[in-house]
Symmetry: C2
Subunit: 209 residues, 2 copies
């Protein structure tokens, strides 16, 4: 089973590394980071680059596609190379997945029409304009399409999909291996739970971009 | 404020990316990935490389050091270049931190003697042999030394330290930005919670390595 994780300039690193560190531990799977060109791809902070080992063209028919989000997603929304690759790959995938605003790219490729899907909480309205039916859930499965909420939700998505593919025990073993027993020091991880003024501040920053 | 995240062959990617995606969003901070040599450094699965943008020698006195863990830590336990750099950097850091078996490297450098500290649950006994006082907690702060449990605990550590440095509001804003409202599909993230036979299986695999 081949798992392709897509990189593009100014993606959010944890969006890609969460599924990699969970779903990527599927026994026997070949996980490959792909981008338009091979070599280092800068994440959104510019302080980190992940290597793309293969080009999109090198990996035409992966079994699983993972599309991360991040500020760079906006530039990719009309990139025909990426969108054409997503459509072509999706024709033969077993699972087509995204984290955060990666779902906007799946939507722009026309893959989420009429599908329940999720995204970063700041992007749910946008997702709706692309033909999807946005939900506020953390991980949404509709047919072979699995979408995750913002950034860190890719860890929950990766474990969920790993369980579907390899069984609950394998997913639990990976959860134990990566000691995923979350104990956040605050309870501010969603717009329903965070202080209202912080939610308003991030909404304002989102509009300004 | 300069934050140095250390890379070495066969580190675990999420150990490094968790603190980067949280603590690294400290306003005004310069986060830099460092290694003995610049260029791509392969993570433990061999399917992913992160770029080291600077050498250890380029970054002699960071304010914060983050040491990830991973299978490659074993090879680094007697690497004088890394251990000497850790000791020298620690002489002027404000915070010296680790994730997972990164604490074994801090211990090997002699930095945790008599300190309460944590590590991956499979490595707590080893940590004790290096002069530290191991605890089973997820994030342990003893003076300027902040250690996190296995892999994913670096996210909790990063938010905890971000709160200490920049205040609770800034840490909560980052938690909201990365939508860190964890909803694992299983409750198997610690040896106390996981099925006993999976704990035994991983203990056996750990001894075999």
């Amino acid at each position: 089973m081949q798992i392709a994780i897509v990189l593009y300039d100014h993606f959010t690193a944890l969006d890609a590394v969460g599924p990699y560190e969970t779903l990527g531990r599927l026994p026997g799977a070949d996980t490959v980071f792909v981008a338009e060109r091979t070599g280092p791809v800068r994440a959104d902070t510019d302080n980190l680059a992940l290597s793309a080992d293969r080009t999109l063209a090198d990996v035409p028919s992966p079994d699983v596609v993972v599309v991360p989000g991040g500020p760079g997603q906006r530039t990719q929304m009309d990139n025909p190379v990426l969108l054409d690759w997503l459509r072509a790959a999706d024709a033969t995938t077993t699972w087509t997945t995204s984290v955060c605003t990666g779902s906007l790219l799946l939507g722009a490729a026309g893959l989420l029409r009429g599908r329940r899907a999720t995204s970063h909480w700041l992007a749910l309205d946008h997702l709706g304009t692309l033909g999807a039916e946005p939900t506020g859930e953390r991980v949404v499965t509709d047919g072979k399409y699995v979408t995750a909420a913002g950034v860190s939700a890719g860890i929950d998505m990766g474990l969920t999909l790993l369980g579907r593919i390899a069984g609950d025990e394998r997913a639990q073993a990976v959860q134990l291996l990566i000691e995923y027993d979350p104990q956040p020091p605050y309870d501010a991880g969603s717009p329903q739970k965070a202080p209202a003024h912080l939610v308003a501040e991030l909404r304002g920053a989102g509009r300004a971009r």
